[in-house]
Point group: C2
Chain length 188, copies 2
């Protein structure tokens, strides 16, 4: 067997905020947790169907003028229960597959300049994502939404991970670029 299906819990968690369609879920995920989690239609729709069969969500059809109809899913008591069970269960082994590092590991097979370019692009991407995260943080901080009293600011804790992560990536890129550039200068 593969990993347990984590997508179902991601969807249930998002539906605990509010009832949504598959299309809404994708948009919501992309706009809130995309820096550490992603889902795609090819998985969302079949998983929603499965969750409905298991009675963890209920479906109703919403007819909209000016837009196609959509299937709105709501989480059930049973769904909320399996979601909180999952929250308490141990985290599965995290799998990292960092293609940038795989290329760098085999860097000796190619020109130093090729690797410099890869790392430079990686840095640019990290800087862009960091700016987006800071925008989100700003957005959360300026809107005075009533956070539940005495509950930790979970969204900000996640965001803080992103800030730490991308700052670290930028720092590593700078260090690495320095070493690569020095080696390249030495070659000439």
């Amino acid at each position: 067997m593969a990993h347990i299906n984590t997508t179902q819990y991601a969807l249930l968690g998002m539906l605990s905020y509010m009832p949504m369609s598959g299309y809404d879920l994708k948009k919501f995920i992309d706009q809130s947790i995309s820096f550490f989690w992603s889902e795609n239609y090819g998985h969302i729709y079949p998983v929603l169907k499965k969750l409905e069969q298991e009675k963890f969500v209920t479906k109703r059809v919403e007819h909209n003028q000016g837009k196609p109809s959509k299937n709105i899913y709501s989480i059930t008591q049973e769904g909320l229960s399996v979601l909180t069970d999952w929250l308490a269960a141990p985290v599965q082994k995290e799998i990292y597959r960092l293609e940038i590092l795989l290329k760098l590991f085999f860097g000796y097979l190619t020109e130093t300049g090729t690797m410099i370019e890869k790392v430079a692009v990686h840095k640019k991407t990290a800087e862009k994502t960091l700016r987006e995260l800071l925008d989100i943080e700003n957005h959360i901080n300026t809107q005075h939404h009533d956070l539940p009293k005495n509950k930790p600011p979970y969204q900000l804790l996640c965001l803080n991970y992103g800030k730490h992560f991308y700052n670290m990536v930028i720092k590593w890129c700078d260090e690495t670029l320095g070493i690569l550039q020095a080696a390249k200068n030495n070659q000439q």
Copy 2:
């Protein structure tokens, strides 16, 4: 279509070091790049078969006394060529799926103590991996293997990423645990 098959390049890259069997490849990967890359038998064997059909590797059977026979794969000139082409190609979009953050994001649905435990375990795991990385670094530094002159120390650059990453994770865990503990004390 899904992502392009990156496993084939990981295997070709490893075979550029020396000819190996599928079993050897798995061991080699687990012992060298497991902190940023993983492969498993269920993928290694079919990909090796495909690489052989495409003439990017050749197979010979090695009969060993005391051990089962094994299929030793060697990279061909053509294989080396597609490998270096891949090195020069842009890095695919990196996909992050951090289950620990997904749980934390939905933390408001459960007890603060549950989330404290998750983050504490995460910290312990990071500390253990960091210690393993430092052992590998020590190992690389003490063995005086002749690094190619004027070539950047690519293995150490990758390792350095791991050190930055796990140190960052530990720092974030400490910050997060402080905030969660404060919130919990406030609840009582």
